[in-house]
């Protein structure tokens, strides 16, 4: 069950973490030529089998909050598609086209005609409106309420036209519209049966490539192909997702041919690579690992803004609020060794917060901090942190942020059970201590860590983001508005009025054109790089191992199975 903690940790990221699989699951491709004419069409039949480390919790797209659940319910149509290779928003799902008002607040979507649920009812604008109204309903308990917070109204113009009015311009607002649609004709109009509907465990209608067949909790979920799928009937009979909690057992099942695909851990790459029956798809994942440096005093966490939105002066951390110290830390980590030894090569150096996967906003010209112990030592000397008593640990001798004599002692935490992070912690401790830090490292239970993190009572933390998605906006990590002890994700208490301003400008750019937004994100990256609220350890590389008994698999960074209806057995 160690796996869970790992998943959960990574699971923290934007909404896109959950939406993307949905959007990406079904990007369009030309419908294959009618098979009956060709004597040698793709082989029909077979079952694609996946393994999941955890069982889903609930098969309702507006109630679920875990990725395992979303993997198990590819039944619900979505408004917008995502290009599996580039991540760009495309009109490949229910929205065929759309128009935007001049102020970018009113979006009118023209929906695809002729798409039906598997029970024959039309998929239309009412389903979309029903789904979003349900989220807002008092009768529905869901963490997805943030999705509707920025929406002023949803109007059904006609069955195939729907108009969404946003309260404020938000360039990533479209992502809020990414949830799967519920079949409104199967629910009570007043949303009263959503929480305890039997459809939450056995959805009867599908408008995607697969329909629900059977779910045995903690065991497997079986799905049948939907022959009425509007992009074309799948070649396979269906797919199965098996719940196999242990990574070692998943690998054994993949080698044994019991499953067709699994996400690989770095230690498993060699064995899969040597197996002639298996392929590996390697991609730059939309996440990174970092060490968060709390700039505020953990004994006195304060919100970043008062009720009127004015900045609140923070009680600075006696050591970490000193930029020179943070810079010295950045120079004293051997990133190359860390990536090679701890991540077994499955990572890449990162200079700042926008990932190369978001090409238009990523500033490739910023160089990651070099491993340079001399520079680090000089920085610490200059900052007034010197080892005057010769015990190997520096003390404050004229430093700017702490009282004289305070030692350079810090606590570093991560979640227990994640062996990669535990190894990283030991290495970081070793490397920092070698230039006069005194790092205490501990791995604690995930729930406890989350409590300390959001409570802002920690000093340094090893953690990561995943599912950052296709938009560069990450204001919840840096904006002073999200520095709210107990709940906000700016838990490093980073405070910079210019960053606040840039994040707002990037999100509220009139027209939202990438070329207009990019300069703001370039400047953000430069500032975050210079100010070092995070030590960026490595960008994530994902590896998927899959069986070569299927053809037509064309995985993209943003979706592995976007064209699953075209896959066929090779023999």
């Amino acid at each position: 069950m160690k796996r869970l903690a790992w998943r959960r940790l990574l699971a923290g990221a934007t909404l896109v973490a959950f939406v993307l699989p949905l959007l990406a699951a079904c990007t369009t491709v030309a419908v294959p030529a009618a098979p009956e004419a060709a004597p040698t069409g793709p082989i029909q039949g077979g079952t694609w089998t996946e393994a999941s480390s955890a069982d889903g919790t609930i098969l309702n797209p507006i109630l679920a909050s875990d990725s395992a659940s979303f993997d198990m319910m590819p039944y619900f149509p979505g408004l917008l598609g995502t290009n599996p290779k580039t991540g760009a928003v495309e009109a490949t799902e229910m929205a065929e086209s759309w128009t935007v008002s001049e102020d970018s607040l009113v979006w009118t979507f023209n929906l695809r005609p002729g798409v039906t649920w598997s029970d024959g009812e039309a998929v239309d604008a009412h389903d979309f409106k029903f789904t979003y109204d349900a989220i807002a309903s008092e009768l529905v308990e869901t963490p997805r309420k943030a999705n509707v917070a920025g929406i002023e109204s949803i109007e059904v113009i006609d069955d195939l036209t729907v108009q969404v009015t946003f309260t404020d311009l938000k360039c990533d607002g479209l992502l809020d519209l990414g949830l799967g649609w519920l079949p409104s004709h199967l629910y009570a109009e007043d949303f009263s049966d959503i929480m305890d509907s039997p459809l939450n465990t056995a959805p009867t209608a599908t408008a995607e490539a697969f329909g629900f067949k059977e779910w045995q909790r903690d065991n497997f979920i079986a799905m049948e192909s939907n022959d009425g799928f509007w992009k074309g009937a799948p070649n396979m009979d269906g797919q199965i997702i098996r719940v196999i909690p242990s990574a070692g057992s998943r690998l054994a099942a993949l080698e044994n041919g019991e499953i067709d695909v699994m996400g690989l851990e770095p230690t498993q790459l060699t064995r899969v690579g040597l197996n002639p029956d298996l392929n590996i798809f390697k991609f730059k994942d939309d996440g990174y690992s970092y060490i968060g440096l709390n700039q505020a005093n953990p004994a006195n966490p304060l919100p970043g803004q008062d009720e009127d939105g004015n900045l609140v002066e923070q009680d600075p951390h006696p050591i970490l609020s000193d930029k020179m110290v943070r810079k010295a830390m950045a120079h004293s980590l051997d990133y190359e060794a860390i990536i090679n030894k701890v991540y077994l090569g499955q990572g890449y150096k990162l200079a700042s917060n926008v990932l190369p996967a978001v090409g238009w906003a990523h500033d490739a010209s910023i160089e990651p901090y070099a491993y340079d112990l001399e520079a680090a030592a000089t920085l610490l000397d200059e900052a007034g942190w010197t080892d005057s008593d010769g015990d190997g640990v520096r003390e404050c001798n004229g430093c700017a942020t702490a009282e004289a004599g305070v030692t350079l002692s810090l606590n570093l935490k991560t979640n227990a059970g994640n062996s990669t992070r535990e190894e990283l912690g030991v290495l970081v401790q070793d490397q920092l201590n070698s230039i006069g830090f005194d790092i205490e490292f501990e791995a604690i239970e995930f729930g406890t860590l989350v409590g300390e993190l959001l409570g802002q009572t920690y000093e340094m933390v090893i953690i990561g983001w995943t599912g950052l998605g296709t938009d560069p906006n990450d204001d919840s990590f840096w904006h002073s508005r999200f520095d709210t002890p107990g709940s906000g994700f700016n838990f490093v208490s980073y405070q910079n009025p210019r960053i606040d301003e840039l994040l707002e400008l990037g999100l509220e750019t009139p027209g939202c054109a990438p070329e207009d937004r990019a300069p703001y994100y370039y400047e953000i990256q430069q500032i975050i790089h210079d100010e070092i609220p995070y030590l960026f350890v490595t960008g994530s590389i994902g590896n998927v191992g899959y069986s070569n008994r299927w053809e037509g698999i064309d995985p993209g960074t943003w979706s592995f199975s976007w064209n699953i209806h075209e896959w066929a057995l090779t023999e």
Binding site: L4, N256, V450
Partner: protein
Amino acid sequence: MTRYIIRRLLQAIPTLLGISLLSFTLIKLAPGDYVLMTTFDPSITAEVREELRRQLGLDQPVPVQYVEWLTGISLRGGDMVDAMAPMSKSCRYFDSLDFTFCDRGGGLLRWDLGYSLATKEPVWDMLRSRMPASFELGVVVLVLTFLFGVPLGFLSALFRGSAKDQGIRLLSVTGQAVPIFWMSLICIFVFSVLLGWLPVGGRMTISLDMKFSLVDRIRHLILPAFVLSLGGVAFLTKLVRTQVLEVIEQDYLRTARAKGLGSLALWSRHVLRNAMLPLATVLGPAILSVINGALVTETIFAWPGMGRLTWFSALQRDYPMIMGAVMFFSALTILGFLISDILYAAIDPRIRLQ
């Protein structure tokens, strides 16, 4: 006897209530709550989290939450009828006392374990759906344990000091010392990956058109049952060996032998029966282990049993689910010990239950 059983069952009620109070408090003391664990996601705002907590009643003090779980009744200060009505069956505001009384339905006292926060399903349904898998594995393990543990212990005692005895004792020490996860992985690697004889895990071969097949079920049972029964067999072997050795030292056995009693009668009537006594003590809790699952084995062999359900809900801080599992296993434990006591009396005529 019947009166004894009824009295023991009645005594179980305050015990269970005590357990529920204690475990509820302990669970609530653990850092992080359900909302935090499921919304560790920057796109979810603090307001949404607060709203969720309010809807789920997690914003209330722990004693209030406990009463709510126990009785299904919510009490709030002030006029909260509007806010509480969507989550309740009936709500009433008492003007003079300035508090709102809402009946949410359910509650342990009404024989209802409530709904899981994560799946929105009844807790009892979730427990029940894992029982067949746990039961299947548990019964097989129990049978294997006794089938091998008792005879091996006897043999070991019978041939005390011989090479056979040494061999069995070595095996039993090894069986107890080898970590289950390691043994499981080795078995999977050898029998599933290298030899391809047995499936890696799961309870059955899963396909779109599944039919029940006994052979298939047995094939899936072999590895987890073998690994899980190792420890039990080892333990029982040692226990039986010690007991038998103790019994054959007794005077009455020498007397019986001197009377010219045949070897078979001697062993079956005198040694076996007397050595069985402590087994009865073990059997009660062992029956409990049949159902309560085995986390490590279930995890490695992807066995969909109760151990994983409980563990997972603890990680998720799914309070009603954790409490449901705790109550269920507590009741089983009490039942297990009752069975032990009854068995004890049945085997040993000197013991009378009163």
